[in-house]
C-alpha cells in the first residue's frame, strides 16, 4: 500500500523532508510508525505522539487504507 506522510517540527528535521509517499506492508498506524522511526531515526516513542489520518485524530490501531494521509504529531508547542 502507498501512504502519504506529512512531517512537522522535529520529525520533519529528522526525516529531512516535510512529506513523502511510502510503499509499505504496514497495515496500521503503529506498524507504520515503527517502520518510519527505524528508517528516519525518530526518537519519540508512540506514547508521546498523536496520530492523524486524513486530517482527523485517530488511534494507533487505526487500520490504514491505500493512499491515506498519515501524520505522526509530536508534542505541540503553540502559544
Amino acid at each position: 500500500m502507498n501512504y502519504r506522510l506529512l512531517y512537522f517540527a522535529s520529525l520533519s528535521d529528522a526525516a529531512g523532508r516535510a512529506e513523502e509517499t511510502v510503499a509499505s506492508d504496514a497495515r496500521d498506524a503503529r506498524a507504520l510508525y515503527a517502520e518510519l522511526a527505524a528508517r528516519h531515526g525518530f526518537k519519540f516513542t508512540p506514547e508521546r505522539l498523536r496520530v492523524a489520518v486524513n486530517g482527523a485524530f485517530t488511534g494507533w490501531d487505526r487500520q490504514l487504507a491505500d493512499n491515506d494521509e498519515v501524520v505522526f504529531l509530536p508534542p505541540v508547542s503553540g502559544g
Binding site: F8, A52, G55, F57, P74, P75, V76, S77, G78, G79
Partner: protein, 140 residues
C-alpha cells in the same frame, strides 16, 4: 472572524477586538501571547511557528465550540500566527465577550489553555547564540 483561525500575517488587535462586538455585551477579555526574549535560561531573538493547518483549524474550532457550551459568551475569537516572528510580536490572540465578566474571563482562559495544549502548532526558538530548536514539551 468569529472562531479560530491561523494567520501568516501580523495580528491587528483592534480589528480582532472589534469582532467581539455584539448586542448585550458588558464584558470583553482579550489575551495576547507575545514572543519573549528568553526561555528556559536561554536568550531568544525570534520564533517560527509551523501548523498542520487542516487539523489545527478543526481542533481550534472544536475548542471554541466547547467554550461556547461551557460559558455564557457572545463572541469568541482566537487567531494563532504561523511563520517567523520577531521579539514582542503577538503569536496568539484570544478574546471573549459576554454579558458579564466571569464568563468572558473563563472563556478566554479556556480557549488559550486548550489551544496551547491540543492544537497542532509547533514553535521553533531561535537563540542569540545562533542555535535553534523545536520545542516539544515533556522532552526535557
Amino acid at each position: 472572524m468569529d472562531g479560530f483561525s491561523l494567520s501568516d500575517a501580523p495580528l491587528d488587535g483592534a480589528r480582532l477586538r472589534a469582532a467581539l462586538e455584539a448586542q448585550g455585551v458588558g464584558a470583553v477579555v482579550c489575551f495576547e501571547g507575545r514572543v519573549r526574549d528568553h526561555n528556559d535560561g536561554r536568550a531568544v531573538n525570534g520564533l517560527s511557528y509551523q501548523a498542520y493547518a487542516v487539523l489545527a483549524g478543526a481542533e481550534g474550532q472544536k475548542i471554541v465550540a466547547e467554550a461556547r457550551q461551557r460559558y455564557a459568551v457572545e463572541r469568541i475569537v482566537c487567531v494563532h500566527r504561523t511563520g517567523d516572528l520577531a521579539l514582542g510580536e503577538v503569536a496568539v490572540w484570544a478574546g471573549a465577550s459576554a454579558g458579564h465578566r466571569a464568563a468572558a474571563f473563563d472563556a478566554c482562559r479556556y480557549v488559550i489553555d486548550q489551544v496551547k495544549a491540543r492544537v497542532p502548532i509547533w514553535k521553533r526558538e531561535h537563540y542569540v547564540d545562533g542555535d535553534s530548536e523545536w520545542l516539544h514539551p515533556g522532552s526535557h
